[in-house]
């Protein structure tokens, strides 16, 4: 796995200055010595000696070279603990290093560490958010052990880490109305080369000899006559499914409704709708790819080429990376035509359905004959602290959204709600997806 790293240029660090305390030590020491000498009080004069001697000691052992700070970490990570390392290398004389480590949405941590020898310090932060993130911004101040001499403040980082969505285990998944191809993991309704019996028919040119069912042929023999007709067992062909994941990355909203505007930032320890969408898409894609199906990705927030459906482990990595990189990019341009998706593909739309765009496209695809499943990724909302004005606005938006979802169900789009909490929500998601998987409405 590649690493991203940042370092401070040594040329900027080679500036050592006396701190304000050093001046105070000099003045205070001289005052005590002089006053003690003038008043002939040895107990007063001796109090100035440690100050003067300490200052001389520091000046003699002052650092000569530059300190180096380097921060590095894996460029890819999973949700959970994200880590990075800081290498601190100081020249003789440098005693302490004062680090302030920051990350957006996190409380900064300050540490005063020993720098007598080169060392590596580990940084960590717990995150449930996914996507590309700039983390671990470091402000750095080095000094002598007593801090009478110190270098100017410097900065290192942040480093960019892509937190990939974590795939949650899913048991059963729905299949498209029409399976494609002559090979694959699923049994189709067309006769072909498979295991499940379709029917028994007369031997025709082109049938394989090993498919002849001798028992049926013998049973059909006329008494006293030789073999007249041969019968073969015909089987159902195997096929694979084409699945298109349609991600609505135009919204990235948190559970706190008050943060939906610009007045407050979304907390970093709460998964947003886009995090849930990434997790849902990755989980479902993983399961389909494990079965041997082909999965592609279309991003409604970007007017770019979609990831074409394909199978295999490499495709999962490609999808996970694309999912992690999908972010809201300003005001999205309205699409005049729906994105072109492979015919017969199962379409899974991951959206909050807070506006009409995703629902409109889902209905168009459904009318075109696709099986469409709408995955609702709106987080469980926190509304108890809302002001009356916000609560009213939220109620209006929620009613509009409910109408939209009802309209979707009415047009034949199937609906599944993806729960953010894996412990509580996995069972509900599994039940909903299994119910869809066992619904067979149209011949394949």
């Amino acid at each position: 796995m590649t690493q991203s790293q940042q370092s401070i240029e040594p040329s900027r660090q080679h500036r050592w200055v006396l701190s304000s305390a050093a001046g105070a030590w000099a003045i205070g020491g001289v005052i005590l010595l002089v006053v003690g000498l003038i008043t002939r009080r040895s107990d007063v004069a001796i109090l100035g000696v440690p100050l003067i001697v300490g200052l001389v000691w520091t000046w003699i052992h002052r650092p000569s070279g530059a300190a180096q700070v380097q921060i590095y970490g894996a460029s890819m990570a999973q949700p959970g603990e994200v880590r990075a390392q800081v290498d601190l290398e100081a020249t003789p004389g440098v005693g302490t290093g004062h680090l302030r480590v920051r990350a957006q949405g996190y409380r900064a941590t300050e540490v005063l560490v020993d720098l007598a020898q080169p060392r590596t310090i580990e940084l960590a932060m717990w995150t449930v958010r996914t996507g590309r993130r700039a983390v671990f911004d470091i402000d750095y101040l080095s000094g002598t052990a007593d801090n009478l001499l110190r270098s100017g403040p410097l900065s290192a980082g942040p480093i960019e880490i892509t937190v990939l969505p974590k795939a949650r285990p899913v048991r059963e998944l729905p299949l498209p109305f029409r399976l494609q191809g002559m090979t694959g993991p699923h049994v189709s309704r067309r006769p072909g080369d498979g295991d499940d019996l379709h029917d028994i028919d007369l031997f025709r040119p082109g049938d394989r000899l090993r498919r002849i069912d001798w028992r049926v042929t013998a049973r059909r023999l006329a008494p006293g006559l030789g073999v007249s007709d041969l019968y073969v067992r015909r089987t159902l062909s195997m096929a694979d499914a084409s699945v298109m994941l349609v991600l609505d990355s135009r919204d990235d909203i948190g559970p706190d409704v008050a943060t939906w505007g610009d007045s407050a930032a979304v907390r970093q320890d709460e998964a947003t709708s886009l995090d849930l969408a990434r997790e849902a898409a990755a989980s479902i894609a993983r399961r389909y790819l494990d079965l041997g199906d082909r999965v592609g990705l279309e991003d409604l927030g970007r007017l770019r080429r979609p990831v074409a459906p394909a199978g295999g482990r490499q495709q999962f990595h490609r999808l996970a990376q694309q999912l992690a990189w999908s972010v809201p990019e300003g005001e999205p341009k309205p699409r005049r035509r729906p994105p072109r998706l492979p015919s017969g593909a199962l379409i899974l739309v991951f959206s909050t359905f807070l506006d009409d765009e995703a629902a409109r496209l889902a209905q168009i695809w459904r009318h075109a004959g696709h099986r469409v499943v709408a995955i609702d990724v709106l987080p469980t909302l926190v509304t108890h602290h809302l002001t009356s004005r916000l609560a009213t606005a939220h109620r209006i938006v929620a009613m509009e959204r409910n109408d939209r979802l009802t309209e979707l169900s009415r047009t034949g789009v199937e609906l599944v709600r993806w729960h953010g909490d894996p412990a509580a929500g996995s069972a509900a998601v599994d039940v909903a997806l299994t119910a869809l998987a066992r619904t067979r409405t149209v011949r394949r």
Binding site: V35, V49, L51, Y106, D114, D146, V397
Partner: protein, 233 residues
């Protein structure tokens, strides 16, 4: 994103001030008791920095304040002295950086002038130790915020230097006490000062010589380029 919510969300910036005024007492009490906090008001998660055994910055600030009070107790019990001392100790605990610890030491020295001179006692040695510790710890923790983590190795690294200087100073004090009892007050002080200055000068010279010895030799002169013109050409 719903336009209604985004517009209202922007307006909450203004409404925050109005809301505070209009809040009922119970809501304020609830917020104070952290009962009905909104999710955005919860403390942010921290960035973890994994270091060795450590203390919190405020532990050491508390220690500095206590050392200051201890030193005051060694000097005397005048109410005025205690008032100033407590104020300075609070100041040191709040902001240990800068000149405050040294100001405390100087004021402690000046306060000694109001006490009639007497023979050196254990209190004098302890005061010397305490004030030295105070002025050493103060700048060392200058940049450490109360909530910051201070590695114990930072403090242990200070110990050798502190002990060497402290030992030398205590020996000086002991010699001073011995000499002062024999009425050689000014003579001994000058002698001790001379010894200290000589030692300091020797250390500085030795250091300078060592630095000069470590410098690389100067680079050899490079050959002039063939088309460089001499002065006057």
């Amino acid at each position: 994103m719903s336009r209604i919510l985004s517009v209202l969300g922007d307006r909450t910036k203004i409404n925050t001030v109005r809301r505070r005024v209009g809040d009922s007492r119970w809501q304020r009490l609830g917020r104070a008791l952290r009962v009905d906090r909104s999710p955005a008001q919860r403390p942010l998660p921290p960035v973890t920095v994994k270091i060795g055994p450590h203390l919190r910055g405020w532990h050491l600030r508390l220690l500095i304040g206590l050392i200051g009070l201890g030193c005051t107790a060694l000097i005397g019990s005048a109410p005025f002295l205690w008032v100033i001392s407590i104020a300075l100790c609070l100041l040191m605990a709040i902001r240990p950086s800068g000149p405050v610890p040294v100001i405390f030491a100087v004021l402690a020295g000046l306060a000694l002038l109001f006490i009639p001179p007497g023979p050196w006692q254990w209190r004098s040695y302890l005061l010397l130790f305490g004030l030295h510790l105070l002025v050493t710890l103060g700048p060392a923790l200058a940049n450490a915020a109360p909530g910051s983590l201070v590695e114990l190795r930072v403090l242990t690294n200070l110990v050798p230097r502190f002990l060497i200087i402290q030992l030398g100073t205590q020996l000086c004090a002991f010699a001073t006490a011995a000499l002062s009892t024999q009425h050689y007050a000014l003579t001994w002080l000058a002698s001790v000062a001379m010894v200290i200055l000589a030692a300091a000068a020797w250390l500085v010279l030795a250091r300078t010589r060592k630095t000069l010895a470590q410098q690389p030799p100067s680079a050899p002169p490079t050959r002039a380029h063939y088309d460089d013109r001499r002065w006057g050409d």
